[in-house]
């Protein structure tokens, strides 16, 4: 068991991202696809925090730049979830389904 370094966290983040992508590809329930999107965002978050933690000291730039970026990602993700779920609710009112296999036409 080697000491845990940057690569370990990045590999975990990559695998988690691929799990989220797999969910978006193979699931047909819109809400579960949306949760998989959240999983992908979280994987990116984990990668940024790991980079921020293992960053060597630089003359310009703070070591916390990555964490600030994660802060913004979390905020944007919260806004995105609110708008996306409102869209899903509006879509469900029109079509009475959230199965993407049934949502094939763009006309209402």
């Amino acid at each position: 068991m080697t000491s845990v370094g940057l690569e370990h966290y990045i590999v975990v983040s990559a695998v988690l991202f691929c799990l989220g992508l797999l969910g978006v590809v193979i699931r047909r329930n819109l809400i579960v696809m949306y949760m998989s999107l959240e999983l992908m965002l979280n994987a990116a978050t984990l990668a940024l925090v790991a980079f921020s933690h293992f960053q060597p000291p630089t003359p310009n730039g703070s070591p916390f730049d990555g964490q600030i970026m994660v802060f913004f990602i979390i905020t944007v993700a919260a806004a995105e979830v609110a708008v996306g779920l409102a869209l899903i609710v509006a879509l469900y009112r029109k079509r009475q389904t959230i199965d993407v296999a049934d949502l094939t036409s763009m006309k209402l």
Binding site: L21, R27, V32, L39, S52
Partner: protein, 170 residues
């Protein structure tokens, strides 16, 4: 310390996999619950990376607000479990193969890049330095994000307005 990393990362990946494909249940509520567990384990990883503020924010915002929003929508829509087992094996197999290829490329690239060679692990993300940075160097993005939240709020209200209330206001 290292055993904690392995425990938390295994739990994160396991719960993340159970969000996507749960062999016992196709219910979206189960997926949401496993998403909560994934996020809690991931905030454990954040603590190991000394990002204490972000670990707290992750639990508060994701597990506290986002998942509750998901659960509200699931309850509101009253979705039944996916009864129809029109399980398109071919599509699922192709998707899984493509994603597995992507995962292989990503992991081998990261293993070969030796990214962690010159790294030092000494940056602790306390609240104070993060807040100072946020209100000095990143004050413009901070304000823009506040505008984004306002836009999201207005958008949600507009989207979830029913036609009956529209007639009342007119």
């Amino acid at each position: 310390m290292e055993i904690l990393f392995y425990i938390f990362s295994t739990l994160t990946l396991l719960c993340g996999a159970l969000v996507v494909f749960n062999p016992f249940s196709r219910n979206p509520v189960t997926s949401a619950m496993f998403l909560v567990l994934t996020i809690i384990c991931m905030s454990g990883l954040f603590v190991l990376l000394k990002a204490f503020f972000l670990a707290a924010v992750q639990i508060l915002v994701y597990a506290g607000a986002v998942i509750v929003l998901f659960l509200f929508v699931i309850m509101l829509l009253n979705i039944k479990e996916e009864e129809r087992q029109r399980f398109r094996k071919f599509g699922a197999f192709l998707g899984a193969a493509a994603v597995a290829g992507l995962a292989w490329i990503l992991v081998t690239t990261m293993m070969n890049s030796r990214a962690g060679e010159r790294s030092v692990a000494n940056n602790a993300g306390e609240t104070k330095p993060l807040g100072e940075l946020l209100f000095t160097h990143y004050v413009l993005p901070f304000e823009i994000v506040s505008l984004l939240l306002l836009v999201a709020m207005v958008g949600c209200i507009l989207l979830s307005k029913t036609p009956e209330t529209e007639e009342e206001t007119e």
